[in-house]
C-alpha cells in the first residue's frame, strides 16, 4: 500500500536533528513539521524573512504583516526573528540552513531537480527554489513516484528545465525512499512502503539506483 501524503512526510522528518534550522516547501513538505521527533528542537525558516515559524494563528488573531512564503497567515514564537529578504537568502545561500524539503516534477539519477516550469505552460516562476537547492546543506525531495498518467518521475535525465544541478540528497515518494551519502554516489533504495515490492519500484523507475 502506498504511503499517504502525511506518511510521506515521516521519512523526511527522521532526518531532522536537534538544533537544525530547516526550510519547508509548500504542500507535502509542510507536513514534515507535524512529524518532528520528540525531544528534538527544530527552527523553521520562512524565506520571506522569518526564523521560528509558529502555528497558524487563532481565528481573529490573523496579522496581514505575518505570513509564510506560501502567503498564509502564521504566528510567532518566543524565539522568532524577522529579517529582510537579502538577509534571508544570505543564510540560505551561505549554507547556514541545515535542511530543506521540497516538491519536484522530476529528479534525475545524478541528483538534478526540475520543479519550476513546464515549457508551453504559464510560468509562475522559481521563487526561492533555485537558491534553496544551491545553498542548503541537505536537500530532500518529496514527490509522487509517478505522474498522474503513470510516467516515472525519478528518471535517467530531466526533460524539464532544471532548478538545480546535482543537488538532491534524498527522495521520498509514496512508494519508497532513495538516499545517497554524497553527490558523487548513486541513489540507493533504502525503504519501501508496506506491501510495496522491489519489483514494483523497479517497474515504475527508469533512473538507475542501487537496490
Amino acid at each position: 500500500m502506498p504511503w499517504t501524503r502525511d506518511e510521506m512526510a515521516a521519512p523526511a522528518a527522521k532526518e531532522l536533528e536537534d538544533g537544525f534550522y530547516v526550510n519547508l516547501g509548500i504542500g507535502i513538505p509542510t507536513l514534515v513539521a507535524n512529524h518532528v521527533p520528540a525531544g528534538i528542537e527544530v527552527t523553521l525558516q520562512s524565506e520571506n524573512g522569518m526564523l521560528g515559524i509558529g502555528p497558524f494563528p487563532y481565528e481573529g488573531e490573523e496579522d496581514a504583516d505575518l505570513i509564510n512564503a506560501g502567503k498564509q497567515t502564521i504566528s510567532e514564537l518566543d524565539r522568532s526573528a524577522y529579517f529582510d529578504s537579502a538577509q534571508s537568502f544570505a543564510m540560505i545561500r551561505g549554507g547556514h540552513i541545515d535542511l530543506t524539503v521540497l516538491g519536484a516534477m522530476e529528479v534525475a539519477q545524478n541528483g538534478d531537480i526540475a520543479n519550476w516550469m513546464i515549457p508551453g505552460k504559464m510560468i509562475k516562476g522559481m521563487g526561492g527554489a533555485m537558491d534553496l537547492v544551491a545553498g542548503v546543506k541537505k536537500i530532500i525531495v518529496v514527490m509522487e513516484h509517478t505522474s498522474k498518467n503513470g510516467t516515472p518521475k525519478f528518471i535517467p535525465e530531466c526533460s524539464l528545465p532544471l532548478t538545480g544541478k546535482n543537488v538532491v540528497d534524498m527522495i521520498v515518494t509514496d512508494l519508497c525512499v532513495f538516499q545517497r551519502p554524497d553527490h558523487d554516489s548513486p541513489f540507493r533504495l533504502v525503504e519501501m512502503a508496506p506491501g510495496v515490492t522491489a519489483e514494483e519500484i523497479a517497474e515504475k523507475t527508469t533512473a538507475r539506483y542501487v537496490s
Binding site: 496581514a64 529578504s85 510560468i123 516562476g125 521563487g127 544541478k165
Partner: protein
C-alpha cells in the same frame, strides 16, 4: 531638510518618467507600497521596468499597474495568482525576467551597496545562467562554478515601512520587511510610505532597521486596510 510630503502624488513629483526602472518592496501583498503604486497609476507614466519579487494579484498591488498596461517589463521571482499578468505575458505584451528570489534580493542589496556584479551558485546549470558569465571558485564547498549576476540600480525605489522618525530612520513590522529593505537601498531616490511618523528621538537608535540616509521622501499612508492572500487559522481548544 524636510522629507515628509503631504501625499503620494506630491512625494513622486518630478521623479517619474516613461521607460524608467522602479524597484518596489513587498512579498505577495505583504508590505507593498500601495499608496505610491496608486500614485504611479494616476501619473500615467508608462513603459516601466519594475523589479519586484511578485506582481501583485488582479487589481491589488502592482496588479493595478499591469491592468493599465504601464509596465513593459517585470523582474520577479514568482508571478502566480495574477490572471491579467498571465494574459499579457502569453500575448507577448509584457516582458518578464524571472530571477531567483535570493538573487533578486541580492541584486537589489548589491545595487544599493555600489556593487555592479557578484557571483552566485544559484541557478548554475539552469536556464537562469544561460548567456551569463560563469567562473570557478574555491568556495565553502570546494571548487564549483558560479554565475555572474548584476546589481540593480533603479531610478526610483518605492517601499512601505511601519514607522519612521522625521529624519527617515525606518522600522519595519514582522514579515512586512521582506524586499522593502533591499529595494529601498537600490534606487537613486527612495520614497517611503509609512503607517506612522514618530517624533525624532523617540525611536531607539539601536532598533532602526534602515537608517534615514537611504530615504529621501516620505508620506504617511495610514489608514491601511491590509489584504491577506490566504487566511489560515487554527481553532482554540475549548476547556
Amino acid at each position: 531638510m524636510k522629507k515628509l510630503f503631504p501625499d503620494a502624488t506630491s512625494a513622486l513629483d518630478g521623479l517619474l518618467h516613461d521607460g524608467m526602472m522602479i524597484a518596489a518592496g513587498g512579498f505577495g501583498l505583504c508590505g507593498i507600497p500601495e499608496r505610491l503604486i496608486d500614485a504611479v497609476v494616476e501619473s500615467g507614466v508608462s513603459g516601466l521596468t519594475v523589479a519586484s519579487n511578485n506582481a501583485g494579484i488582479d487589481n491589488e498591488g502592482l496588479g493595478k499597474l499591469l491592468r493599465t498596461k504601464q509596465i513593459a517589463k517585470m523582474i520577479s521571482s514568482y508571478v502566480g495568482e495574477n490572471k491579467e499578468f498571465e494574459r499579457q505575458f502569453l500575448a507577448g505584451e509584457l516582458e518578464v525576467e524571472f530571477c531567483p528570489q535570493g538573487t533578486l534580493a541580492e541584486r537589489m542589496r548589491a545595487g544599493g551597496a555600489g556593487i555592479p556584479g557578484f557571483y552566485t551558485r544559484t541557478g548554475f546549470g539552469t536556464e537562469v545562467a544561460e548567456g551569463k558569465e560563469t567562473k570557478r571558485f574555491d568556495g565553502p564547498n570546494g571548487e564549483l562554478d558560479y554565475v555572474l549576476e548584476h546589481g540593480i540600480f533603479a531610478d526610483l525605489a518605492i517601499v512601505k515601512a511601519w514607522k519612521a522618525d522625521e529624519t527617515g530612520n525606518l522600522v519595519f513590522r514582522k514579515t512586512a520587511r521582506n524586499f522593502n529593505l533591499p529595494a529601498a537601498t537600490c534606487g537613486k531616490v527612495c520614497v517611503v510610505e509609512v503607517e506612522e511618523i514618530v517624533p525624532t528621538g523617540s525611536l531607539d537608535p539601536d532598533h532602526i532597521h534602515l537608517p534615514g540616509v537611504y530615504v529621501q521622501r516620505m508620506i504617511v499612508g495610514a489608514p491601511y486596510d491590509k489584504k491577506i492572500e490566504f487566511v489560515t487559522t487554527r481553532t482554540r481548544e475549548t476547556a
